[in-house]
């Protein structure tokens, strides 16, 4: 089995809680959990499979801990590595950039040769615009909305992780 690393900020509140649910569903024994605020080239490049938590900040930006790592990723060759990305957004208050952070990060990974997996359906969401969108009515990863659809989070995570397991484990 290839190594799978999950990266998310330990400093956050909602992203952290969602991340812990993902770890639980995936099985802690199958993952290496890393605080995204301590990410560096060495601890990032050690995996073949990745689960990445990317919140969307402000009106569609990456959080600092990822944004500051972007110049490093831009020089990486990620070919042969698989990435599943999840993020949290707010469809009602920020409908113009729902989960943009997820999309920005996904595009960056793809541009460096990484393979994206874990696409999800856009059915059941209501927003105006999102950089997390890809063709075929899908998102680049798992979009969660704790502000407006918290009751759907558990099921969304379970379904998504089941799909990931088939590929990663």
């Amino acid at each position: 089995m290839s190594k799978t690393g999950i990266f998310y900020s330990f400093h956050t509140n909602k992203t952290k809680k969602a991340s812990e649910k993902i770890v639980e569903a995936f099985g802690k024994e199958n993952l290496v959990v890393i605080n995204a605020e301590e990410v560096n080239e060495k601890n990032f490049l050690q995996f073949d499979n990745y689960i990445i938590g990317v919140a969307t900040w402000w009106d569609g930006e990456l959080p600092n801990y990822w944004d500051e790592f972007v110049p490093a990723i831009e020089d990486m060759d990620l070919s042969g590595k698989k990435f599943a990305i999840y993020g949290l957004g707010d469809q009602k208050l920020y409908p113009e950039n729902f989960n943009d952070g997820l999309g920005i990060f996904a595009e960056l990974i793809e541009s460096r040769g990484g393979e994206l997996i874990g696409f999800t359906s856009r059915d059941g969401y209501e927003y105006e615009k999102s950089r997390a969108e890809r063709g075929d009515n899908q998102f680049y990863g798992l979009c969660l909305d704790q502000e407006n659809q918290a009751r759907l989070t558990k099921k969304r995570i379970e379904n998504w992780v089941e799909d990931l397991k088939k590929i990663f484990i």
């Binding site: 402000w58 930006e61 600092n64 500051e68 110049p71 920020y94």
Partner: protein, 681 residues
């Protein structure tokens, strides 16, 4: 529309020397920002301070892309780093903060934290944030006309898009395809009012997506590199495509709006901590370390140096002189053109009579032929054979072309504001505007008018808008509430603007010529009821000039001094002739200029007649006559044998029905009745 732009500047490719300069600038700037409140605490000054912390990225980028040789910059009150990055020194920043005489923005006249350097085209702007967009568009219009390669950059918060003048400016720049960069520094608040209370669209710039000839770019204003790249793209696009760009930069406001605001009253502790975590300067520092561009020790050395730089600047600024109170009357209005040929504004030319409308038209044409840097715009000014609502500009577009003579959008504030802006390009330019279709519609332009009236004084004489605002004024045409107003009384309360109100064709020609040859602002009121009236027609010498502040005695008399102007001059002269038949000899003074006021002519006449009455079309209550009357009471009381009487309209709007209009406006009979009453004393 696209937000995609090349990454010219990255943490990896900018050379170390440049990065050190950048970091020094950012640290010194932040230190100045953080120290500003101390000056207030110590009662030294800087009583208005709007901290820029959290806007560091975009402000630094604006300043770095501003070229004082080619560009114009209109910063707002939070733009300390913008101006510092553009080249103002630490000392100049502090001098403005503590309002010293050597403050390059305006010698301590304008509010603190309003940084500027007019000498470099970093303009001294209003506190009405966003209205300088109109000035930016105006100067860009000049850049385009004169084929000048440069950009006009205007900057303010995102909340300003709620203002009509911002919309008017963006619409105008889009329609005319002008190289303006509108920077929206979005920190999510207009003082305490959150963004969702301003507009439904969180990305306020996207409200303008439907505009043509307009590029919209979004960037992270908290990130130095992203801001630099976005600003580079905005400038490149504005220069190459010759069209406007809106650059919306996401920022955070790390502190309160200003030192009169307490953000803890409306922002949770969680939010305040959250925004501080996004401190752009801290992020830049982390990046310098993370990518091994600097060591901790090297950065510490820069920070120590920054402290020393600010300390030295502080000491120098504290020794600077304060403004001299004896200078307060300097730069209220510039010296006008000297009418040497006709120093008293009178003539003895006896040629064929010219109508008022023709005199104005002919004079404008003559001056436009004389001076190629003259322009005119306004509503309805030029469309084929139509030249204004009253044909005052007839034939001008045909003779001088569409670039110098054109109709403006129906946006009075835009008409005035862009005139102000265009004259910033150079001091040779003279702009005539029809401020509104009628004076009645000038009110939407009042903010641009007040703003312009401040410019000369506020900048300590460094800039004055050279414009003549023509307004078709007054009633007697059955026009009702919106075609009869006289607004000169209200305008005269605002210092910094000359106001003239000629009645006869010759005076109109002479005053207009003087206005067009003078620096500064002149309001040129035209009594529209008289445009084609034979009573106002007069022989007009070809080169006639009338100096400002010179009244004209239109009829001499011994018994009563009657002071008037505009439409009521005609009624006053008629009344005087009728009164003469009854043995009452009235001296009729046509003020011609209200500001400056020819007190000498008024007072000399009263010394002779010992009785005075003031007649004007505007309301008696608080009309301009109140000022004339008070001046007489103050300076000629001992010569008076009776009260100073006033004739004017009632304290009502002007009714549309002719019966109502007659009841409201002054006329010959009302003047005669009052004169008789006065004569009885």
């Amino acid at each position: 529309m696209s937000s995609i732009y090349p990454k010219i500047y990255t943490i990896k490719n900018v050379d170390k020397e440049t990065l050190e300069k950048w970091y020094t600038k950012l640290v010194v700037g932040r230190r100045l920002d953080e120290r500003a409140p101390n000056y207030l605490k110590q009662a030294i000054g800087w009583s208005y301070h709007a901290p820029y912390a959290g806007h560091d990225g975009i402000q630094f980028a604006i300043g770095q892309h501003f070229d004082k040789e080619t560009d114009h910059l209109f910063p707002y009150y939070r733009d300390m780093m913008t101006c510092f990055s553009a080249g103002l020194t630490e000392e100049e920043i502090i001098l403005n903060g503590i309002s010293k005489a050597t403050d390059v923005a305006g010698g301590g006249r304008h509010m603190s934290n309003h940084f500027a350097k007019p000498e470099w085209n970093i303009h001294n702007v209003s506190s009405c944030t966003g209205n300088h967009d109109l000035h930016a568009v105006g100067v860009a219009r000049a850049m385009k006309y004169y084929s000048h390669k440069g950009v006009s950059i205007t900057s303010h918060g995102e909340s300003s898009v709620s203002e009509g003048y911002v919309y008017e400016a963006i619409n105008g720049a889009s329609r005319e395809k002008l190289p303006v960069i509108f920077v929206l520094q979005d920190n999510g608040y207009g003082i305490s009012v959150p963004k969702h209370m301003q507009t439904a669209n969180r990305k306020a710039a996207n409200n303008f997506i439907g505009f043509k000839n307009l590029r919209i770019i979004h960037c992270n204003g908290k990130d130095i590199f992203d801001s630099m790249n976005a600003m580079a793209e905005a400038k490149k696009h504005a220069l190459e495509a010759g069209e406007p760009v809106i650059l919306q930069a996401n920022c955070v406001r790390m502190e309160s709006h200003s030192n009169s605001d307490r953000h803890e009253l409306y922002r949770s502790e969680n939010e305040r901590n959250y925004v501080r975590e996004y401190d752009p300067l801290a992020k830049f520092r982390r990046m310098l370390l993370r990518y091994d561009r600097f060591t901790e020790e090297e950065l510490q050395a820069v920070e120590d140096n920054a402290k020393a730089i600010v300390k030295v600047a502080h000491k120098k600024a504290m020794k600077a002189p304060d403004p001299d109170p004896a200078t307060i009357m300097d730069f209220v209005m510039p010296e006008p053109y000297k009418a040497e040929k006709y120093p008293d504004g009178v003539h003895d030319f006896d040629g064929e009579k010219t109508k008022l409308v023709e005199a104005i038209n002919h004079t404008m044409k003559a001056e436009f032929r004389e001076n190629p840097d003259t322009f005119i715009w306004g509503q309805d000014v030029a469309n084929k054979d139509k030249g204004g609502a009253f044909n005052v500009t007839k034939g001008m577009q045909q003779e001088f072309g569409e670039q110098r003579v054109f109709s403006a959008p129906i946006a009075e504030d835009f008409i005035v504001g862009t005139a102000n802006g265009m004259t910033r390009f150079n001091d040779k330019i003279r702009v005539v505007i029809e401020g509104a279709e009628f004076a009645d519609y000038f009110w939407p332009a009042m903010e641009a008018y007040v703003e312009s009236s401040h410019d000369y004084w506020r900048s300590n004489g460094q800039f004055v808008p050279n414009m003549t605002i023509r307004l078709a004024s007054g009633g007697y045409i059955g026009g009702g509430l919106y075609h009869s107003q006289n607004i000169e009384g209200a305008l005269a309360t605002i210092p910094g603007v000359r106001i003239v109100y000629p009645t006869f064709a010759d005076d109109a020609a002479g005053l207009l010529r003087t206005s067009l040859r003078s620096r500064g602002m002149t309001v040129f009121m035209e009594p529209k009821a008289l445009y084609n009236a034979p009573q106002a027609a007069a022989p007009v010498p070809e080169d006639f000039e009338v100096p400002f502040g010179k009244a004209r005695i239109r009829r001499t008399g011994r018994d009563i001094t009657l002071i008037t102007y505009g439409n009521t001059l005609i009624y006053s002269l008629e009344a005087a002739n009728k009164l003469a038949e009854e043995g009452i000899d009235v001296e009729v003074i046509d003020l011609r200029s209200l500001v400056p006021l020819d007190k000498e002519t008024i007072l000399n006449s009263i010394k002779k007649t010992n009785k005075a009455m003031v007649v004007h079309e505007d309301k008696v209550f608080s009309g301009f006559g109140a000022e004339v009357t008070s001046t007489i009471m103050d300076e000629a009381f001992e010569y008076l044998d009776g009260p100073v009487k006033r004739v004017g309209s009632t304290y009502t709007p002007v009714g549309f029905n002719r019966i109502l209009e007659k009841a409201i406006l002054p006329d010959t009979d009302k003047i005669i009745a009052t004169a008789k009453e006065l004569k009885a004393y």
